[in-house]
Amino acid sequence: MIFELLGVPPQALFGQLLLGLINGAFYALLSLGLAVIFGLMNVINFTHGAQYMMGAFASWMLLQYFGVPYWGALVLAPLIIGLTGIIIERVFISRLYHLDHLYGLLLTFGLALIIEGLFRQQFGSSGLPYTNPLPGGTNLGFMFLPWYRGWVVVFSLVVCLATWFMIEKTKLGAYLRAATERPDLVQAFGINVPRMITLTYGFGVALAAIAGVLAAPIYSVNPLMGSNLIIVVFAVVVIGGMGSILGAIITGFGLGLIEGLTKVFYPEASSTVIFVIMAIVLMIRPQGLFGTPK
């Protein structure tokens, strides 16, 4: 009845909400990676969008060239892309830690341009299709739920919560959090902080690659898929503040939902709504919803 009131058929509403939730899952995975990397390295990883795109391409190539199915790619692609992240950190980013953070941003921006340019050169700007590994779906009465979309939401939620658990509740996470606060002191306790930083960067990149693999069957695999997304994710990060892991997850999913709702009720604003929210949050709570004022 409420749907008649709103003048929107429930199928359309829930369909958009689900799509919003999926986008939210990508926002959450990407902003989580950004937050983990920023926490330890004080670098905003502009290459993150390109690494998400590389994740999607890795799964496409694994299937196309080596016949590795989706489920294999879901494990292999993040490992491969995470490894390239480790190389990037060792070769380039590690040289900038003693400098202003802005240089890290500029360097990773340059790297993003290189990666994106190479993929565009190789694959063109039009998308490559990736077959849905979980075709079909089920009718829930109020909406049709495609299996794959449900899988994306559940799986990314599991990955996000596992990351949260690892960082907040395990010994390894305790080292990580300690090194975020006082790297020198943690180093003095005999923990190899530079190696930890390298692995953390690889881990953050792998999270982006997971998002990319998940996105491949939904959106076409496209060299440009990351660059527009990463700017939205920056806004998500500003809204949430990078202080809290759980905060990044909640903000990501929440904003995805809001974006989905906007698509139903005021589609003209759907591409800008997150930026508007960012502006409002900056006016009211500059440190972000979950950030701590400094």
Binding site: F92, L99, L102, L106, L107, I114, N228, S271
Partner: protein, 326 residues
Amino acid sequence: MSGTKSKDMLIFAVLMAVMLVAPFAVYPVFLMKVLCFALFALAFNLLIGYAGLLSFGHAMFFGFAAYISGHTVKVMGFTPELGILAGVACAAVMGLVTGFIAIRRQGIYFAMVTLALSQMVFFFCVQAKFTGGEDGIQAIPRRALFGIFDTANDLNFYYVVLAIFAVGFLIIYRTIHSPFGQVLKAIRENEQRAISLGYAVDRFKLIAFVLSASLAGLAGATKALVFQLASLTDVTWQMSGEVVLMTLVGGMGTVFGPIVGAAIIIWMQRGLAHLGEWVLVIQGIIFVITVLLFRRGIVGELIALGNRFSGKKADEAPAGHAHPAE
């Protein structure tokens, strides 16, 4: 200080003298493009080089002012000077609003906020009617300047653009050497200290931001009339990245660096245009090399080299190691 000032003015005079005769050797439209981007980079440099604020969204002022000048001249029949003024006014207002929002965060967040806001402007331009969507505003007429001076001719318009560039340069030069500019540098070096000295830091940042936005708008509004085209390209984040690259390559926080950087990048883009996507890759490589190997940029390195030769103590390096810490 006055020594460097007179040296700067000498360099500027030589530059202007060269530019006065340059169109007889080089295609004027190319020179006008360089001048517009040089002004754009100078405006950007005012923020990063002297206030330590990295704006990753300056394309919004450049591109939106281009739309405004294109629209007012083509549809509303404005003369070029009025069209450009309208573009600048719009950029100034946008600068005031976005600056007010963005200065609430510092450092890296400032960069992300400006980038996000400019993406919002981009989406607005995609949807708005007057921008012409994917087509942009094409065939913007070059009306007579002040209603009398013919600008349809490229050579004539070149001198108008050169005059605009000179005015923009002198405004920026005057600003950075004024007491206001000194306060900006103090904020760049140590914001907490500037606050404790009683400066209304946010107000200084906002004024600098509005000034920079207006001048970026001046560059964009002029560029629209040069190419008789205002399009989405000028509002994209790639354009924001390009002006960062130009300034970085030329030398952040140097007086002439942005001009050198703009000239090099524009020249490179023209020379490599046939390579297609590789241009993007090459720009990325230049970014990486500059950040890793010569952060002071070309002019910054030359100044450092000159200082070493003359045995002077290394001058406080330009923004090279500014620390707008969060």
